[in-house]
């Protein structure tokens, strides 16, 4: 793991850390004797690579998987799993502080034990790592090679000197943080997703550079742990791909949490002074300096393609956008496919998984499955969560598709009111004068769970008219989706408990 000169980050070695390391990079592991030729060689042991290797093995193919660092990739080790684990704890702290809102007493002594937070995270990470351990993968019939791979020809590669020949290959080497080129940043030291989960002490003051999903999630979590947090984003809103209202609600949520929000602002320079990091910020014609103890960057990701010797294999790639693929995930070398972050715009674990299945299918069978038919949801796990699937309104209008949006604020949903989780909305976009769902955005405490219903509807071509006939368990927050469908068919929405009470009181 690359360490980025941050004095506060040092990989803690406890039982959980050791268990995970045994699972994802077994000490004393001897690479097997390679087969004469593999049906499929998978380069990279992250989510895409693991899915590809298991899928190919289950089809009876002779499969090898090569991993240079840790099985599980970013998601398990330094991404989804550890971040969601600490976000869970941070939500709990936020709820404890707001206990009175829920008719509960605020605990007398809310003291954040950051070491315990991180220990829980490591325990969870170790547990999840068992599923795709080196041993289990090997037992599933995959030859696991731990080492650095580089192509030596169009049908062969070398792993630390051992040659692997293949009929087909899948490159799934993932991506890494794209560090902004800010003068003084490297010298001062900074955190990325690759080392932030190694922290053992909470930084007293934290600057987060970048308002994408990673920056937003961790800024909120660290703020709720008690770090005085500032987040700078060089655009007018966070999560620039999302709908304005979603991003605006997130900004408001950040402000409620006490995060210092600096939009339209660039971090121009970093310098060390008196043991603290001083960061100069520029916003239009306004300049200021913040003093912090740690800097976290979350400004995008770059595909891992440099060290693979792809040119020798006849695989076209770009340092910024990754391996060039067609709609069948085939590269410029017909033997070689790519999957996951190394080639996709949407760098999510679930797209890595889905693309890997397509790549293996197309590589090992006569099938011709397409990437473009996938319906890909995503979610940013802030509080509230922001989830999206399908087209945005702007994308639809760019394609000259007239759009009608059905909006249900969460404050109209009984369960959200009962839960005290009223911030947010469900917006379902349909093609004008039809019930065909083009896309949806959900902002809600559990938007990530709710978006799946819309994804199912889009994939199964279920329109709003049919959704209106689907009985939703009451009371649930997903009832918001039913309300949107009811609005489409013109049914009066169920009056909320609040309005019933108001009527009763008036009577």
């Amino acid at each position: 793991m690359k360490q980025r000169n941050s004095p506060s980050a040092a990989l803690p070695q406890d039982a959980y850390g050791q268990e995970r390391m045994e699972n994802v990079r077994l000490s004393g592991w001897c690479n097997p004797k390679p087969a004469a030729r593999y049906n499929l060689v998978v380069v990279g042991g992250g989510p895409a690579g693991l899915v590809a290797a298991r899928a190919a093995a289950s089809m009876g193919a002779k499969v090898a998987l090569v991993e240079r660092a840790l099985l599980g990739g970013v998601c398990l080790n330094v991404g989804c799993i550890p971040s969601k684990a600490i976000i869970r704890t941070s939500r709990l702290y936020a709820e404890m502080r707001n206990a009175e809102r829920y008719g509960a007493q605020v605990p007398g002594d809310i003291r954040v034990d950051f070491a315990a937070v991180m220990q829980r995270m490591r325990r969870i990470r170790a547990r999840v790592s068992r599923v795709d351990s080196v041993q289990r993968l090997s037992a599933a019939g995959v030859d696991v090679f731990l080492g650095e791979a580089h192509f030596t020809g169009t049908d062969a590669l070398s792993v630390d000197g051992t040659k692997l020949r293949f009929r087909k290959a899948v490159v799934a080497t993932g991506a890494r943080p794209d560090t902004p080129s800010i003068p003084g940043l490297v010298e001062a030291g900074y955190l990325t997703n690759e080392n932030v989960f190694d922290l053992t002490e909470l930084p007293r003051r934290l600057l987060v550079i970048g308002g994408g999903p990673l920056g937003c999630e961790l800024a909120q979590a660290f703020c709720r742990f008690g770090a005085r947090t500032t987040i700078v984003q060089d655009l007018p809103l966070f999560l620039p791909k999302e709908e304005r209202d979603a991003a605006q609600l997130l900004s408001d949520g950040f402000a409620r949490d006490g995060i210092e929000v600096r939009l339209n602002t660039e971090a121009a320079r970093v310098r060390m002074e008196g043991g603290q990091k001083l960061v100069d910020l520029i916003s239009a014609d306004y300049q200021s300096t913040v003093a912090v103890d740690a800097i976290l960057t979350g400004t995008g990701r770059l595909p891992n393609v440099e060290r693979l010797n792809l040119k020798v294999a006849g695989v076209d790639c770009d340092a910024a956008t990754g391996i060039r693929i067609d709609d069948f995930l085939q590269t410029s070398n017909p033997r070689i496919y790519a999957a996951g972050d190394a080639c996709l715009e949407h760098k999510f674990t679930h797209t890595a998984d889905a693309s890997a299945r397509i790549a293996v299918h197309n590589a090992l069978s006569l099938g011709r499955r397409r990437l473009s038919v996938l319906t890909v949801p995503w979610c940013t796990y802030t509080d509230p969560e922001i989830a999206h699937v399908g087209l945005y309104v702007r994308e639809a209008r760019d394609q000259d598709i007239p759009v009608r949006t059905f909006t249900v604020p969460m404050h109209d949903v009984d369960r959200a009111i009962a839960d005290g989780e009223e911030v947010g909305f469900v917006k379902i976009h349909v093609k004008e004068r039809t019930d065909r769902i083009l896309g949806a955005t959900i902002v809600a405490r559990h938007a990530g769970e709710m978006i799946n219903e819309i994804t199912l509807a889009i994939v199964a071509r279920i329109g709003l008219r049919t959704l209106a006939r689907v009985i939703h368990a009451y009371p649930t927050q997903a009832d918001a989706i039913k309300k949107a469908a009811d609005a489409y068919v013109g049914l009066p929405a169920r009056p909320t408990i609040r309005s019933l009470l108001r009527r009763w009181a008036a009577w």
Binding site: L235, P236, A255, N264, R397, P409, H411, D412
Partner: protein, 430 residues
Amino acid sequence: MVEISEPTNEALLDGLQRAAFGYFLEAVNPATGLIADNSRANAPVSIAVVGFALSSYVVAVERGWLARADAVERSFAALRFFRDSDQSGGPAATGYKGFYYHFLDARTGLRVWRSELSMIDTALLIAGALTASMYFTANTPDEIKLREIVDILFRRIDWRWAQDGGATLRQGWKPECGFLHYGWEGYNEAIVLYVLALGSPTYPLEGDCFHAWTATYQWENLYGYDFLYGGPLFVHQFSHAWIDFRGIRDRFMREKRCDYFENSRRATLVQREYAQRNPNEFAGYDEHCWGLTACDGPSDELPDVTGEPRRLFGYAARGVPYGPDDGTIAGWASLASLPFTPDIAVDAARNMHRRYPEMLSELRYASGFNPSLASADRGAWVSPGNFGLDQGIVVMMIENHRTELIWRLMRACPYIRAGLRHAGFRGGWL
């Protein structure tokens, strides 16, 4: 305590309109004709407020509150100031490329607060100037001169420059850093800006600028109403103060079988629905007490009636349904929807006046009031003083409701007509 529940609607509206107009007589610098942004000490000039004043003088002449010669002289003073102002674009100038800085020193008319060269506020100023030129049409030397100056001001605005090579207009520019990169997408008060910029005989916008802007619109079904979404109420009122959108439609509205007037009616009803729902459980909100918009509100962390700390936003563009909302209502905003929803606007005005008489001072609206921050002796929290934008929209929208005077004048304005046509508007009076 003001008792205004008795008068007829006509008397009520007349009283409120005249009180609002009085602001412009009190807040003017006679030497420059410029109008202060608000009535507080050391307030700067807001160029948009001057635009509202120029339109309100016309109303005042019609209603007999101001002699025609006086109105011409006041208008002439302001227009002459802008014509002769420093257009170098320097940090302490008044304008650049025909645009003007948002806030100017009340005495000198030079830029203050490092404010931005504002495209929308210049448009509101120019809309007011055009109103004056469409009304003062007599062949007297003063009125001829007035019209000449308005034409000079309009023709010298380089709208094309404000595109900065992009598909849509920029919101602002500063000498210190160039064009501002604030997001200004989605439906907002800028139709009048685009219409003026497209109607320019000298520097009209390039490309399909209006279509590029409308491509960012959000047409939503909310609380049972299909409408073009915009959170704050002023978004649905400012362009409509000058342009009569009844029956004229651009491509977007043809697709939606609606028009911008009807849209403002629905947006007003959505505002009332939100107040009825009152998701944040603020004091006072109901179907008779509503109106979230850009206005002044409390800004300190004052405790509310239950003693809980709340976030308070000061002067902010409050909106529905996503906020920001801190319990502050702008009484004038619901009244400014009078042309769209006369019955519920008057109902809201009467009810709010009765329940919160402190929101009015001599029949003139405070910018905002907040019943959640009430005190036993003074009633609801009330924004001190008055703001010019609020008074201007009240004068104009009451007049449009009563006589359609402003709409009638601007329907005949060739620049407005040309701009609307270039934006793709068809039908109705056009």
